[in-house]
């Protein structure tokens, strides 16, 4: 059954059919949300919010774009709203980390090659620095880079989702990469120097 048929069924009163759409798109939406919040719990919470919003506004879906494009737009808007206004204020998050310990974020440790504690610390610092650099990008650049890197979408598809042209997406990606390089290039050297001083 394709998306249009499922939507027809839902609008016809068979609301349980929405589960098919959820099961079909949940991983895609979850990955997109992960690209913005970098945290499993927040991404799951956002994914729920996205599907509830989609369900509520399904009668307004005209089928001009595909359902996937439409729900991507909802996901991007919800994620940008979330990162502009975090559900838990930053100060409370830091206090939470103090009590829980950083190890609570088990997904934070990328599975790089070396296993010694120092390598793990360095990997952790690199990962945090990269996430911070991604998070500091302006909204449109961040959206373009998330859809490109996390979802591996072609520029044409990103342009559809963002309601812009392929040229504009290309430009956004170039500027995002330049900004990321600028932000990331200073960190590892600085970090190495600090470690040497110790």
């Amino acid at each position: 059954m394709n998306d249009a048929e499922i939507i027809k069924q839902i609008l016809g009163g068979n609301k349980d059919s929405f589960r098919f759409l959820v099961e079909r798109y949940q991983e895609m939406i979850f990955r997109t949300c992960m690209g913005f919040v970098h945290n499993r719990e927040d991404a799951e919470d956002l994914t729920q919010e996205v599907f509830i919003n989609a369900y509520r506004s399904l009668s307004g879906f005209k089928g001009e774009a595909s359902f996937a494009t439409w729900i991507y737009r909802i996901a991007v808007n919800a994620s940008l709203n979330r990162v502009r206004k975090p559900a838990v204020p930053y100060v409370l998050q830091r206090i939470g980390h103090l009590f829980l310990g950083e190890n609570e974020r088990e997904w934070d440790l990328p599975d790089f090659d070396a296993d010694d504690p120092e390598s793990q610390i360095i990997r952790q610092e690199h990962a945090d620095w990269i996430r911070n650099a991604l998070d500091s990008l302006p909204g449109k650049q961040r959206t373009a880079i998330v859809l490109s890197r996390y979802e591996d979408l072609p520029q044409k598809r990103i342009a559809e989702i963002m309601g812009t042209t392929e040229g504009a997406v290309e430009s956004l990606l170039q500027r995002a990469k330049a900004n990321l390089r600028k932000k990331l290039s200073s960190y590892p050297k600085k970090n190495k120097n600090q470690r040497r001083k110790k």
């Binding site: 099961e23 949940q26 990955r31 690209g35 729920q48 890197r149 996390y150």
Partner: protein
């Protein structure tokens, strides 16, 4: 190969989409140019971090949770609508009754307050006034 071309090819390099001869050229440049090598190193780390995040899967019960939340939200909305109907309908009836009574009172007051109905004497009544026909003085002299 120059630095600009090398940096432009980074996506294709990491995506494994470079032809073998171009790949060799890029790698030769990276050995000679520490600036480009640093950029490639950073991109490699960034791709590794993103790759690790992409491996994380949502909870297997996420779809069930979403459907449960939708059902709860719908049930709550239905309850609110029903309770609103139960309050709004009697309230509207009471209000319309009160408005009808008020309108009646206002209309009644307008009728009573009419200056013609209070201060002017109908012609028929003035003709029935005997005193206007025969004065007391005339009667007293008779």
């Amino acid at each position: 190969m120059n630095c600009q071309l090398c940096q432009e090819k980074s996506d294709a390099y990491f995506g494994g989409m470079l032809p073998p001869d171009m790949r060799i050229q890029v790698e030769d440049h990276l050995v000679k140019c520490s600036g480009c090598a640093e950029i490639y190193r950073i991109e490699a780390v960034a791709m590794k971090v993103i790759g690790e995040e992409k491996k994380i899967l949502p909870n297997p019960f996420l779809a069930t949770r979403i459907m449960t939340r939708i059902e709860s939200a719908e049930a709550a909305e239905a309850l609110t609508t029903t309770s609103l109907k139960g309050i709004v309908r009697p309230a509207l009836m009471t209000l319309s009754l009160a408005a009808a009574i008020f309108l009646g009172v206002v209309l009644g007051n307008i009728y009573n307050d009419s200056p013609e109905s209070v201060h002017t004497i109908p012609v028929e009544l003035s003709l029935m006034d005997d005193a206007a026909i025969e004065s007391i003085d005339a009667l007293s002299t008779e």
